[in-house]
Symmetry: C2
Subunit: 358 residues, 2 copies
């Protein structure tokens, strides 16, 4: 049995610059880099052994975060961590009480605590949650907004390589041409589309009537986040499966969405960590909603945190690390869409000094 | 790190006869014994060490269980346990898929698995859940239906001993006399009442208007379980805090109750174990409901399972072991309502060979 708690948990953070392999474009804009933040939590046990838990924040302006706000929030959180890494629930309650939002900073600490506890117990996080690592859905591969021919080329490349599920970012006047080109290039792939809230409800219905004939498994966030009635309208009018992403930041958003959509997209960076991600799963299930887990542009560190949820999911979109020029961590694996849940203690992540991909 | 999984989990069960110190009466009837079932799960690790997890089922006819049905369900569940005690979620999914209801039998296995995993890791279950054992509400002491003078004597005894919160079972024509007598006997105690669904909605409003002047903190289940509209009506008409118990067996019942009541009463035996009890907490919180945890007539074994939830609760009614003539287990403690969460590994329970109370 581990001895009584002895030392304070200490926090250090450093920039984690992640250049992308190519420009990434969605309906809200384009990016060439992710300016993430790496968090290290350290704690010394009664035997004098120091343990480290790692976390990552992916600041995202849409959720109100920049690298600087993440760093400032982490500095404010550092004195609140206490001396017991097992007490994740009360630690995270203290951070929530300190400041609202700042979910990426909170997520980084939450996942570092899970990593630390898993290492202390010598068990993967998913195992401490009682989950069976077998099964779980395949991840989609996401294709950003681009010309029809570029999107089609990307779709062909991944479909031919054996990826079963492609997620297309939409939300421009060229959507029909893009989706048609992708369908022609990948006739057997399962396709989903994500408008990131680009459309009004009536626009969405018109666009989706154009796109549905190309075979769409579901549509993510057709209307703006606050337009729950719009989501309901789209679902009723098109009969398509509708997944809420931007509309559903935390478990408290779920009851109001339950009769408007078919499922929710959870992101660890959006809800503030694994603790709340698991809450979202439970609340969604109680409302008979499908559960998806997505990501931002992240390294394998925070994607390995999200991957702990895999056995609980219907859909996964955990491919943010595939956009990177090089990934400074190794953890969750992916083989033509099939995710390999990490098997090491905690989040199962190790730092690597990979060469950039050629 | 624990080695790879080696052996099947085996299950044994035996009768756990629990005579009561005195007759226990609620609006549905009276009992002198609880005929519970003790479950032992055994699992041998790669080093040849055999570990045991303990669970308890409290069969309750209202929830569709008798000792014989619990035993039959346990026998059906035994071959489904697999070889990995950590995989609680998929094990419990298999039991749920095998047969509906039978929540006491499922609860016994669920808690034995939690006990086993906690022992394997040398940690209390609440610690593996990330909870802080400090705080948590006091438990009420429950007084069964009896004559006004007997109920008053019991109330005086416990209030004078320092118990802050008394829960009165009601649902007979004598309710007003009983509650008046209790209030006179214990003028400073906080009182809550539980009708166990005895009243129609209009009856409930009339009765509660009689009882409210005696100072009632909340009322539990004034109307029948299926009468959600009745619960809403009682809440609107009386302004009292209404807690759903029989109306709320699992997390899936919560969305429909969310605008009808102020909170829910979770019971491990009602929902089928700690896994689902925790789900109920999360779903209730997402709906801004108060969370209470109650019990049936149970030994300290299954009450210690429920006590793991303590830091998550607003109200506790974990006193079922206090009704027993003797308690074959020792775990959760209680001192004038203040619960002591067990600190040992797993559920923190040990068997005792106590003499019956004189």
């Amino acid at each position: 049995m581990l001895s009584a708690v002895m030392s304070q948990i200490t926090l250090a953070h450093e920039p984690l610059d992640l250049p992308l392999a190519s420009v990434w474009r969605i309906s809200r804009g384009a990016r060439t880099h992710a300016y993430n933040v790496l968090v290290r939590l350290n704690w010394t046990d009664a035997h004098g052994t120091t343990w480290e838990g790692l976390g990552e924040a992916a600041p995202y302006a849409y959720y109100g975060e920049l690298r600087g706000t993440v760093e400032a929030a982490l500095d404010a959180f550092a004195p609140l961590l206490g001396d017991d890494p097992f007490a994740i629930n009360s630690i995270m309650d203290r951070l929530e009480a300190r400041v609202r939002h700042n979910t990426g900073a909170k997520a980084a600490i939450d996942m570092a605590l899970h990593d630390l506890v898993g290492k202390l117990l010598g068990q993967p996080t998913w195992r401490l949650w009682g989950l069976d690592p077998a099964g779980g859905p395949e991840t989609s591969y996401s294709i950003g907004i681009d010309t029809p021919s570029t999107m089609a080329a990307k779709a062909r490349e991944f479909a031919d390589a054996g990826w079963p599920l492609l997620k297309l970012k939409v939300g421009t006047p060229d959507d029909a041409a893009c989706v048609r080109a992708v369908r022609d290039a990948a006739p057997h792939a399962r396709l989903v589309i994500d408008a990131n809230g680009a459309w009004s409800a009536t626009e969405a219905v018109a666009r989706l009537r154009q796109l549905a004939p190309f075979g769409i498994e579901f549509v993510e966030q057709p209307c703006a986040s606050e337009n729950v009635a719009g989501l309901r309208f789209v679902r009723e009018q098109t009969g398509l499966t509708v997944i809420a992403d931007e509309s559903c930041a935390s478990e408290e958003d779920i009851p109001a969405l339950a009769d408007a959509v078919d499922g929710i997209n959870i992101k660890v960076m959006k809800c503030g960590g694994l603790r709340r991600a698991r809450r979202m799963v439970e609340v969604a299930r109680a409302h008979h909603l499908k559960v998806m887990c997505g990501c931002l542009i992240e390294s394998s560190l925070s994607l390995s945190a999200a991957a702990q949820l895999l056995p609980l999911l219907d859909f996964a979109d955990l491919d943010g690390n595939l956009l990177l020029k090089h990934d400074p961590f190794r953890g969750v694996t992916v083989d033509r869409g099939r995710l390999g849940i990490p098997t090491g203690p905690g989040l199962g992540v190790v730092a690597v000094n990979e060469q950039p991909r050629p």
